[in-house]
Symmetry: C2
Subunit: 339 residues, 2 copies
């Protein structure tokens, strides 16, 4: 049986024998209503299965409890972890999350932000710091807390919670050098701005140590995957067989590279050191365990949400930048026999 009309505040009010506004108050500010009335209202609500109409609420208040989240990919493990952090808080704090997937397209990002802006969100979480002019403009003028995650950088559009990918990649590369590797290679996919900065970090560290060669850099604009990691390593070996360690754009590539090395009976870490980026769960479980630069992705989601919540509660706060840092998780894949 289909109920044609949804139950409204008025229905509840009638059943409870009070006026609509009283019901509204009983829901939002229970302390402003007498004990007795509150009980009547509550039982009426559950009897009717009343749920407030978010659209009407938004129209009346001019704001929603929606938090818009803009990410470039939903398939990537990296963002799944961020989302987990976000939903963790969203659940307990009763916020609606609306996810926009830009697929690494600035145009789609503009579109998503424009749509969000029209909905008076309680907050906005956007991945990365490479928004277009248009997007920056929307973010600058919107009347809600904005949190950029994944990365820290100059001139943030609001709050910023992330890390320096340049530094993190630099540290991972330093680790390779400290392990005694001298002919470093780089495997990269997608090559979006964030990836580029990781590459820059690699390059800087490698050059400082005289371990860099353009011949040992292999990249593709396509999305990263384990399969692609294997293919890129194959390309690299064809081009410069003397490479003795690789820094990978991310963990998928690193895992694929490990598999390819195994296929070719290349000994890891002795003949080839492998370092990934992000430290996905599987890195530690691999055989050999793969060294990776750990990032705190779930924490970024968590903190982004907490930031927004505290703005909602305490009114506007001056935006801050939080650097969550990174950690080089040294494992067997780079544990070269010294000497």
């Amino acid at each position: 049986m289909i109920r044609k009309k949804r139950t409204t505040l008025d229905d509840v009010a009638t059943l409870a024998g009070v006026s609509a506004i009283t019901v509204s108050r009983a829901i939002r500010h229970p302390e402003m209503v007498s004990e007795k009335v509150r009980a009547q209202v509550e039982s009426a609500i559950s009897e009717l299965g009343y749920v407030p109409n978010p659209a009407a609420r938004m129209l009346a208040t001019g704001r929603s409890n929606m938090i818009g989240v803009v990410v470039p990919s939903v398939t990537n493990n990296v963002f799944s972890d961020v989302l987990r952090g976000i939903y963790e808080i969203a659940g307990i704090a009763d916020f609606d999350i609306q996810l926009a997937n830009t697929r690494y397209s600035p145009a789609l990002e503009d579109k998503a932000l424009r749509l969000f802006a029209a909905q008076k969100p309680a907050g906005l979480i956007v991945a990365g710091i490479d928004q277009s002019e248009v997007s920056r403009d929307i973010l600058a003028n919107i009347d809600c807390p904005v949190v950029q995650i994944m990365e820290t950088g100059p001139d943030p559009a609001g709050f910023c919670i992330g890390l320096s990918h340049f530094d993190a990649a630099h540290a991972g590369t330093r680790h390779l050098i400290e392990q005694g590797y001298t002919r470093l290679g780089f495997l990269g996919a997608r090559m979006d701005p964030r990836t580029q900065r990781r590459f820059a970090g690699f390059r800087a560290a490698a050059e400082e140590a005289g371990a860099y060669s353009e011949q040992r850099v292999v990249t593709t604009p396509e999305a990263s995957s384990v399969t692609k990691g294997a293919a890129l390593l194959a390309d690299l070996l064809a081009q410069e067989p003397t490479v003795d360690a690789i820094f990978c754009n991310n963990d998928d590539l690193a895992l694929g590279a490990l598999f390819e090395a195994q296929r070719r009976r290349i000994r890891v870490p002795d003949q080839l050191g492998i370092c990934g980026f992000n430290d996905l769960e599987m890195m530690a479980a691999a055989e050999p365990p793969i060294t990776s630069v750990r990032t705190y992705r779930q924490d970024m989601g968590l903190r982004a949400m907490q930031t927004i919540l505290s703005c909602v509660d305490n009114g506007p706060v001056t935006p801050t930048t939080i650097d969550l840092g990174y950690e080089v998780m040294a494992r067997q894949s780079t544990a070269r026999q010294r000497g």
Copy 2:
């Protein structure tokens, strides 16, 4: 500079020198408006950067262009693929996706559906067929197309797009038997209803071949991961070292099991056959490549969206069930030397 008031239909109307309702029509039914007026309106819209207020629209029409998606996890690769399919269509068809994460909790699923129902969605996509009584009730009474994905089963709540996990697991297990393995084991994590049905499929096939033993079944209620796969295999080997092949709940476990086997110098596939479930991208790239039962997850998301779109366009259609099937991707991890 912060614009205090958002631009409304009236603003556009004033600038264009027409009335609000005309602007509304120019947007939704351009063919009902004269060429001249349409041009004026369009230029006014882009000059003001007008974006319709979805809340007001919803309040007026009683329906939204939101599609609610209910999944038990956002971290799991399996659902990421489904989401990719969904967002692919959502982008081009201008639907808002709202994602609810139930974390495998029926109570959270009820809550999510109730909230969605209050928003008059254009459609609902829910993962799985194991909804609670409350949820089934909501789905039965809601006035929009409902699509259950991931799995087919009796008594669907609406459209149903998936596969029989029992059959798929049965087929994967048959494959192991056909390869000559006779002492089959099972690795399982989470053990939600869908997983249970996969186990049932495994068990049925194994028993039919006299290859089943309860001693070779190792499961955990915790979430699956590569690490967990390694741990479960270790448990299994401690308990029943004679196992000669394992069917894994999913690919994460399979990969972890492979790593653990490598650590112990157990030869795959000769000493131990490994079969996963879902056929994530990395399975084919592993060394050795891992056999897995392929499912069509992105396609499920895609088709679920298309189903909803066609309902929106063509009015109510009688719900159907689509079985997308599965395919056993036989690879080296089960390519045992015969004889």
